[in-house]
């Protein structure tokens, strides 16, 4: 168990360093890493500090967010096919971003888009909580999430449909694919406080999720407050996945696939899986972001496209395994 965490942490550290070392400004690894810490008053330090560092940091932070939220959602719903997007966060964040692009707000100032996306995410989750009610079981939460997701998708299509200029439509489509390219430290500072709050909330869930293995009734009798657990899960997910979508667009399959792959290595316990998935998610997003830069360096392959291309077959494999196990 702890050996798994060490292995994952080392993997994340190596991938983080690799992410810092890769880019079009071809410089030796040692020199570029030292330029990060010691200002050389030249272009390399600027590239490292202004371009590569925020990109690597965002990859790390978004990976942690998606992994933790995915493991939390699967643990709460006791369903290995649940995904953090299930409660409508990603969809409503995308709607906010689409509106920002359409209205020209994103062009007017740098944080216009991420702020609108955040507003969308928070609004969406507020509606989901309103629909699902303060108590209620997991079913109502799923239904409310699906309702809000579909509504945001419909409204996003409407905005696209009515988009007067083809460039805006183009920009919207590319934004929705998800990417870490051309992000700055401003994006990091915007996302970090929200994500940290989300991580703190999700980090308080493990024991309750373990207890939920026995069902809602037994968990409550074990002293777990399910209403509070659900509130922490939903707000935590909204904060960190909302922030992730706001700064990077929709990056799918990470929250779904990572917990599923790591589950056997934590003896299927949903609590420890949250920690493992945090690191696993970071590793997956950092690795995917390295791959998009390596295989098509000139074409700006979108990160979300790659995670979907890798994630979908893995997902099929999981379905096959689930079917064979007869669950």
């Amino acid at each position: 168990m702890s050996r798994l965490m060490i292995l994952l942490a080392v993997t994340v550290a190596v991938l983080f360093a690799a992410s810092l070392a890769i880019g079009p400004a071809a410089a030796p690894v040692g020199r570029s890493l030292s330029a990060l810490f010691v200002d050389d008053n030249g272009p390399l330090s600027m590239v490292m500090r202004e371009i590569r560092l925020p990109r690597a940091l965002l990859g790390l932070m978004i990976g942690i967010s998606l992994g933790m939220a995915g493991a939390g959602m699967q643990g709460y719903l006791r369903n290995p096919l649940a995904d953090p997007g299930l409660i409508g966060v990603s969809g409503s964040a995308a709607l906010g971003a689409v509106i920002a692009i359409h209205t020209g707000l994103s062009a007017a100032f740098v944080l216009g888009l991420p702020l609108m996306a955040l507003a969308g995410a928070l609004g969406g989750v507020f509606l989901v909580m309103l629909l699902a009610g303060p108590q209620g079981g997991s079913q109502t939460l799923i239904l409310a999430g699906i309702a809000i997701s579909s509504l945001s998708a419909a409204l996003s299509s409407l905005v696209l449909n009515l988009s007067p200029n083809p460039f805006a439509a183009n920009e919207i489509v590319f934004w929705m694919m998800g990417s870490l390219a051309d992000r700055s430290m401003t994006h990091v500072w915007l996302a970090l406080p929200l994500m940290a709050a989300g991580w703190a909330l999700l980090a308080s869930l493990p024991r309750g999720l373990d207890a939920l293995t026995l069902g809602e009734d037994a968990a409550e009798a074990l002293g777990i407050n399910l209403t509070r657990l659900r509130l922490k899960l939903v707000i935590g997910t909204a904060a960190c996945v909302g922030a992730a979508t706001a700064v990077a667009g929709a990056i799918g399959f990470v929250g779904l696939v990572v917990p599923h792959i790591l589950r056997p290595y934590v003896a299927s316990r949903p609590g420890p899986l949250i920690w493992a998935s945090a690191l696993g998610g970071a590793a997956m997003v950092l690795a995917a972001d390295i791959v998009v830069r390596l295989i098509l360096p000139t074409q700006d392959l979108k990160l979300g496209v790659l995670t979907a291309i890798v994630g979908a077959p893995l997902f099929l494999h999981l379905i096959y395994k689930t079917r064979r196990a007869g669950v």
């Binding site: 293995t213 009734d217 409550e220 009798a221 074990l222 777990i224 299927s268 316990r269 669950v327």
Partner: protein, 252 residues
């Protein structure tokens, strides 16, 4: 010392009254069989006693903060849910959750309680097996062990022996008697009246939305009560091997 006291409990679900005016006390060293026809509200009564369902009246357990309650009473629901393919030992260890502080890992005394529970239910050989791949009866025993591992003065179990083979039905009931001998108490809802009269020190008959009878098995399973509440007749005798109860035929 009273481990549970209910005073004038009443529950309505969706506007329909389930039961009302239920008052009872469970002392130390009792095995209480909660009996009654289907739909009489046995499950609801136990859940209300634990504060898991809104009820009027007073319950000494429901009044407690959730964590304290979880150290006083363990609950084994009727639905035998095991959501993830964890091994039996991990499953049973979940019973230790109320005893652990935030972020605290399993201590030696927790392991001891888990070992004790596993051996009480005869699960030592299955401890490393995946719980979801066990047979239904084995899963039930694992969940009883989980409840025992919680190590509470009171255990409430909803039909814990349904689906077990005869040997394990008897040994599970005997295990409850052993617990009672240590000064703890067990409340079980049970449909097998034959096992109930042999292993319970006391029966509570819940029927028609009220507590019909509460006392020793002979005083509760009278021919009148059996006819009026269960609609059956029965052969009930004391033998050198203990009381024997056999339902005979349906009367209505």
């Amino acid at each position: 010392m009273s481990l549970l006291s209910l005073h004038d409990m009443a529950v309505s679900l969706r506007g329909r009254p389930v039961f009302s005016g239920v008052s009872l006390t469970v002392g130390a060293g009792e095995v209480v069989g909660l009996i009654g026809p289907n739909g009489a509200g046995k499950t609801t009564l136990m859940r209300a006693a634990l504060g898991l369902v809104p009820a009027s009246g007073r319950s000494s357990l429901a009044d407690l903060p959730a964590r304290d309650r979880a150290r006083r009473a363990a609950w084994m629901p009727q639905s035998h849910e095991i959501a993830w393919p964890v091994d039996v030992e991990t499953l049973v260890t979940l019973g230790r959750i109320p005893h652990l502080g935030a972020g605290q890992s399993v201590r030696p005394e927790d392991r001891a309680a888990v070992d004790r529970a596993l051996s009480q239910m005869g699960l030592q050989d299955l401890r490393h097996r995946t719980a979801t791949r066990l047979s239904g009866g084995e899963q039930t025993r694992a969940l009883v062990a989980r409840t025992l591992a919680q190590d509470t003065p009171l255990v409430l179990a909803d039909e814990p022996i349904a689906g077990l083979d005869p040997a394990h039905q008897i040994s599970t009931m005997q295990c409850f008697q052993d617990i009672a001998a240590q000064g703890k108490s067990v409340v079980v809802s049970i449909h097998d009246l034959g096992l109930a009269v042999r292993h319970c020190t006391r029966l509570i008959l819940l029927a028609g939305g009220r507590l019909v009878a509460d006392g020793a098995p002979v005083d509760v399973l009278t021919p009148d009560n059996l006819r009026a509440e269960f609609g059956i007749s029965a052969h009930f005798v004391d033998t050198p091997q203990g009381p024997v109860f056999q339902p005979l035929e349906v009367l209505r």
